[in-house]
Amino acid sequence: MAITAPFSYPESIKEKFIATPGLKFKDGSTVSSAEIWEFMTKEAPRRFPYAFDAGANNMGRFSDDVNFLSGIKRGYLTLTLKDRIMKEHAAGTPTVLVQGGQAMDAYYAAGGLPVRPGLVMQWARNMEEGLSLRQSETLGLNILESGRRKISIDACNQIAAHAAIDNKVVPIDLIAPFLCLRCSDMSFLVETHRNREHDIPRYLVDYPVDHENKPWAAEYIATELRELISKIAALSGRIITDEVIFDEIKLENRGRRIATEIADLWWGAENPPTNSTDFFGIAFLANDFVGDPVAAVDLLEQSKLEIEERVRNNVKGFGVPDNAKRLYICGSCVGPNAHHAQTAGAIFVGRDDSWSCISVPVEEEGDPYLNIAKSMLAYPYEQRTEKRAEWTAEQVKRSRADGVIFMYQWGCNYQSGVARMISDIVKEKAGVVTTFVEVGELGRSEATEQSTNRVEAFIEMV
């Protein structure tokens, strides 16, 4: 097998990069761009070589568009996640296992550090440093398999996060996710912790079905949010007032607003101003994939400026194919490989899951618990399937997508249950071709031919 040279940032952009602003963090600290450059060109390649694997199969591969400087900073936030969590945890901040794809306002407001399953796995894999992509994946797969052995092979790869907690690979202080209607495995996996040696406290915030026009659904969630916040606050020692929660809500709303503005800018541009990796990175920032909302908002602002400039100058993102086929991606926790798709002539223009919770701001006045509850209940992705599909069709139209791929993970029973229905509705409402792909690879970057081939065949068809 040919060994591809590791990815690296060219010295030619250093000067331009270090002239840009650094990043602010929620603890009040800052990092300069020069420090970020040092980290991303020296320290990180040494500590996390897997992240610099330039093979096309590396799903987490950095963007080739090195001139999109915010992308480098996003990489920095990703690779420093472990250090930041460990530091905060050592200083007494409780780490909380949460559900992805939902707003984290309540967790941060209560003084907790919410970590979604995907981040738990990233964190767990980073606990060992100096690993190649294959070594890092093997480490992850070993954790995953230990969970599957203990629980079931029918589980999706979220089980790896629970196994990492069980096996004490990472320290989690509270297991307390919101539930939702897209995720079949979370509630049952949380339940499995009741039969473990550890005694990590557990809590679930329910998510009722068919909640439209039912005020009691929001009240139910709001009561549980009070309980959740008081549980986290008991661990963090933070005194919770409505004002504290509203401060967090305002910060997170800012992130949501900027991300939405960026999406509008991006969709309206004649040429896609960034490649798929950088575009999806925007949603990831607004959807808390970096463990620090202050840094995320800061970087969103910087990203927006860069994208505005590119749109103004009609700059096409590096790697975006000419006459690229525009694909909208549906489904949770898994997506097609952006690099393969680009090679096949396509670009990703949206993602229903990530954009769903960004699209709903939380009211900034009144009862903060009820406001968060109401916004959770308004996520388009969590509506009845027909309504969710109609929203998706709207997104498809706004993003001028040529086709839709619905992907779901092995073991993801609620998504698999509606993949066909959503594809059918979107096809009818948006007038584009759709397909759905089940992914059985569960976190591997090798032997992914089956799903890759299906995606590529679809792109050809589009």
Partner: protein, 392 residues
């Protein structure tokens, strides 16, 4: 022993589709319902005809259903979807409304698909995952109240307290009768088998409730009359308790295998079986009272419960195993039924020394031989253990 009432039940069932047809012509409406927490008493009290739906064990229908859902969804859900797609089932084709509760979210998804693809009028009852909390109860009360209002509109009638009281009484009596039948089938020289009780339960899916209750009471009388005649030598038998995912009408694969290999099923805690009839006591004849009673009975495995020590489902399982003097547990899990599959290891741990066998299966016949081998070894093991115990 041939029980005449069982034949009567079979005959009543044969006539039921035509009876429904007549009733519908007279303007009666049929409500098909599915899952675990639909308060059937309310449907009945509103003068609607409740029919419990959902069959299993038919690989062909599973295939039909899979055209609209993934092959990675629970096989029961796929088959029910297949039933709706085909509309040849004499009950499915007569439904005026389908009511599904969201105890299992895969069933909630099923409701959406039935509504979207097959144009059925559907109604959903939300069920709190945090069913044991005050706020969960509060939520469910409101849901049942809302559900009742929607049903009232559909029925064109208001829920009268006296009708609800009457319905509660009928359903209480049905539940009591089923419990009595379970007691009898578990006896050493039982006058009827678990399988027969199971088919009596299945008949209750469709029969008119009053007729059903009368037949149950007649069956019990017939059994009691013949009880004294029962004699015999106690054989060494493997008394099997069934747990795990549901075993709906039509799914006899595992039951057949256990019986063919000489095992005797003596009890279950299935949501399609005995659990459904346990601990449901409505003390206040209102939608709120009904809601509380439903939520407080033996919980369904689809509702997560985070404390092992106080889990009512597991406590009931342990109690029933003792009550029916079972020698071992066959824990049946349907593929992609996470609710029960994820709990298999834990259930084994909780049951400690009770012999335990997990069978993870589907409705296709491809794994019959593999299951047979495992069940055979399990039954042998139980029997030889008992033989040794008798010798000592």
């Amino acid at each position: 022993m041939g029980l005449k009432t069982l034949d009567k039940i079979t005959a009543a069932l044969e006539n039921r589709p035509a009876e429904l047809e007549q009733l519908r012509k007279q303007g009666k409406k049929v409500v098909g319902w599915l899952a675990y927490n639909i308060p059937e008493e309310i449907i009945y009290a509103l003068g609607l005809i409740p029919i419990r739906i959902g069959q299993g064990g038919d690989g062909r229908l599973v295939e039909v259903g899979a055209r609209h859902i993934s092959t990675k969804n629970c096989v029961f859900v796929r088959q029910v979807l297949g039933q709706f797609a085909e509309k040849t089932d004499p009950y499915i084709k007569q439904l005026d409304l389908v009511a599904i509760d969201a105890t299992c979210i895969q069933l909630y998804r099923l409701e959406e698909l039935i509504n979207f693809y097959f144009d059925y009028n559907t109604i959903v009852l939300g069920v709190p995952r945090n069913f044991a909390t005050t706020e969960g109860h509060e939520y469910f009360r409101k849901e049942v109240e809302f559900f009742t209002k929607k049903l009232e509109l559909f029925a064109g009638a208001n829920l009268e307290q006296s009708r609800l009281e009457e319905a509660i009484k009928i359903y209480d009596n049905i539940r009591e009768a089923i419990k009595t039948l379970y007691r009898y089938q578990g006896l050493d020289n039982a006058p009827l088998s678990w399988r027969q009780v199971s088919s009596v339960i299945n008949a209750g899916y469709n029969l008119d409730r009053l007729t059903y209750l009368e037949l149950l009471q007649e069956l019990i009388q017939e059994i009691e009359k013949n009880l004294s005649e029962v004699t015999g030598v106690r054989e060494i038998e493997a008394r099997i308790f069934l747990s795990g995912s549901l075993i709906p009408p039509g799914d006899t694969k595992l039951i057949d295998i256990i019986e063919q290999l000489g095992g005797r099923i003596v009890g279950d805690d299935l949501w399609s079986g005995f659990n459904f009839f346990l601990n449901l006591k409505i003390t206040e004849p209102t939608p709120y009272g009904v809601a509380d009673a439903y939520l407080d009975r033996v919980p369904h495995g689809s509702l997560p419960y985070l404390d092992l020590a106080s889990d009512g489902r597991l406590a009931n399982l342990k109690h029933q195993i003792k009550e029916f003097n079972a020698d071992g547990v066959v824990y049946h899990t349907l593929r992609y039924c996470d609710a029960f599959t994820f709990k298999a290891g834990e259930t084994k741990d909780v049951l400690g020394n009770v012999p335990f066998l997990e069978i993870h299966t589907e409705y296709s016949g491809s794994d019959i031989e593999a299951i047979r081998t495992r069940v055979e070894a399990f039954i042998e093991m139980i029997k030889s253990k008992k033989e040794i115990a008798e010798l000592v």
